[in-house]
Symmetry: C2
Subunit: 490 residues, 2 copies
Amino acid sequence: MSKGITSRGTDYSQWYNELVVKADLAEHSAVRGCMVIKPYGYAIWEKMQAALDKMFKDTGHSNAYFPLFIPKSFFSKEASHVEGFATECAVVTHYRLKNDGSGQIVVDEEAKLEEELIVRPTSETIIWNTYKGWIESYRDLPILVNQWANVVRWEMRTRLFLRTAEFLWQEGHTAHATREEAIEETERMLGVYADFAENWMALPVIRGRKTENERFAGALDTLCIEALMQDGKALQAGTSHFLGQNFAKAFDVKFTARDGKLDYVWATSWGVSTRLMGALIMAHSDDQGLVLPPKLAPIQVVIVPIYKTDEERQRIGELADNLLADLKAMGITVKYDDRDTHRPGFKFAEWELKGVPVRIAVGTRDMQQGTVEIARRDTQAKETVPQQGLALRVAELLEDIQRSIYDKARDFREAHTTTVDSYEEFKRVLEEKGGFVAAHWDGTVETEQLIKEETKATIRCIPLDNKEEHGVCVRTGKPSKQRVLFAKAY
Amino acid sequence: MSKGITSRGTDYSQWYNELVVKADLAEHSAVRGCMVIKPYGYAIWEKMQAALDKMFKDTGHSNAYFPLFIPKSFFSKEASHVEGFATECAVVTHYRLKNDGSGQIVVDEEAKLEEELIVRPTSETIIWNTYKGWIESYRDLPILVNQWANVVRWEMRTRLFLRTAEFLWQEGHTAHATREEAIEETERMLGVYADFAENWMALPVIRGRKTENERFAGALDTLCIEALMQDGKALQAGTSHFLGQNFAKAFDVKFTARDGKLDYVWATSWGVSTRLMGALIMAHSDDQGLVLPPKLAPIQVVIVPIYKTDEERQRIGELADNLLADLKAMGITVKYDDRDTHRPGFKFAEWELKGVPVRIAVGTRDMQQGTVEIARRDTQAKETVPQQGLALRVAELLEDIQRSIYDKARDFREAHTTTVDSYEEFKRVLEEKGGFVAAHWDGTVETEQLIKEETKATIRCIPLDNKEEHGVCVRTGKPSKQRVLFAKAY
């Protein structure tokens, strides 16, 4: 098959856009900014969901579902939240259409809502309005709830998975009796996200804290995981917010503590979205197509028969049947591609494009010699191996690929993390090499803004494992106690 | 705990409303007509989703995701569809809010959409508009896609789960090369729904066909499963539609057939929703609370210790640990309720209210005698049994409960299905006994409407296994070839 994907070197952005469409992951819909997630892309998202959902449940959380719509007035209740979220939103104003008599469908102006409804951009407000009815005493706490849902933010410039008007996500919303417990939860969930990114997505991440400027609207503290893409740009892959008592105060949610005193409830929220699909694609894939970590690949192994006669086809089919059974018994997802409408070369290219981690080809000579050809997608390495013991070998290979992809991404990140001590160097590294730049910063919003305007780099995070190190801000020369990580970002 | 649920005999409708809230399944939200599905209710829905999703995949379907919003003009493309769906809908007209300067959040009138967007009430239009890009030849068919999503229909009178403005559902949308294949798919999916209702929900259903009057807007044929609730009213539990070429024509989706000819694609759609939660609750529960079939119960077994001293508590706890391990090893979901904030009687009532199928109580005397008390929720029967071999006994009991609940509902339905031959009898049965009434009908929409106006009963379906039987319409005396099932319905 003709892939014709622009190479990363030619135009990374174009490569990404083409790959998402050509690998059948997603496409633009007829509605501006909204995407269609195609079956192959959705299968990856389902694997992500399943892994995350299990992690959430293993840490004591339950799922629930809250309304899609939020009354407009709710957004005015938390002052900083409204600035961050209640601007670019889809607004429902009417609840009826009618036929205008000439066959045209028009909005029925008489069916106007008394109060406009906002399609949720995030659910803190509607959820804390609900929690008010759930919480009376410390016995009702903690509430550890997650929601899988669609949300809408009216983005003007959209890109499939990375920035879409509607996207899918999960949002955890927890309520606690103490500040300490809420902070602990915020950190625990960041840990879950980092674990998922590294062990499932094979994506090394920096665990850090956002600066005040980059914090979630309404949070006292925002923790995040940041990953590096192959073009040297950073991508925020998940956030976990300590909300303090802000939403409890906004929605008047108090509880009677053990000591009988009334206090406002402490909150966290945390989320990851279909944006992770973008991160997954950009971190690992190459000019031939997707490279997927085996743990998230919808198809882990594909077997392609190469035959000339019907008899050969049948004999290879018998071998494949056994192999399929062996692999399935080991929990491996495998597809036998015996379509007679396409030639082997076409199939090889198609599964390469779709990132199937392991390809097994079986031809006439293989049948004579008791071998198969096995190819790994990530390194493109091929070898001829015995049919005997193949399932075990494939299982080991899948583990090796999962590890190798991670290592490669980690090595890339390490090679693209630069410590700089002057603004000249800062700008040069950003320009020539990209990646994370570890630099001293004076801690002010003003300097952060200035650097962003001058270089397009933002502070991705203050790493949680940062060491205290005295120095001077690369931009202002003012004193600094630690380095922070800058990068251009998605 | 004080349950204080109205009894079914006193007011069935009130009983349902109270039970849904008191058993922590769902509640009304601040947004008119939209519900909050609470963790306990959502856990049941998740079990339903998991079982259905597996059935869909086992029959060759994949999941995908399409936009929440549908351009208004799409609804004008399929003439009968628009009448059925494009009336009571949430309409998005603007995409921005702003601060009016005085701190009030108002809709930014300058940010008006060129074309209004409808929040999907169902997705045939946006999906067929998408399929146009996916289908060129017979090689691209069939497309077997399902979507799990939220939809909005602006209902004026709402009830938790049964009729809400926003609800959760799945909608399958398939595309086929031939009429026969599409009809086969329509029937296959009705079979999946019936299988799920009967084997998971323990809900006996009638498989049938809707009359023209009750057909899905845009379908050539609507198949359905109909269940009977304890108040003698019917509830439509799932529908599967043969859409013919209607949507393919509306969105110009043609394909090249094997013989080289161009033809429009054949379609089906099928769906079940959170309405099934209402059916589940109403079919089995009693005046003490929920009765859940073990296969869908979030907690299948609860163990309640009864102790006076800390030493007793510890000894019972050790027994419980072993029992928990044994039950979990058998795949049974079990909770050990050793809260010291509540007394055993309170716990018994709480788990009864929440429909946990099996309760095991362990007291001091049990510990001396090597026994436990085991109680089944459905019949309230209790017995004292040996601790030895308990896990196996519990597993068998769960199977027995699943079967018994089904049998009870089937017996109820059989006792409430009446064959009548006169309109007097028809009205009397509906009035005094309720349930399904099998009667002859002359086959016209007019008579169906007349009967509905006079009795509030509608034709629930023409059963698929109907025998030909000559008779005369109970209302008009005109000739009829078969009986159809009437009932008052949800």
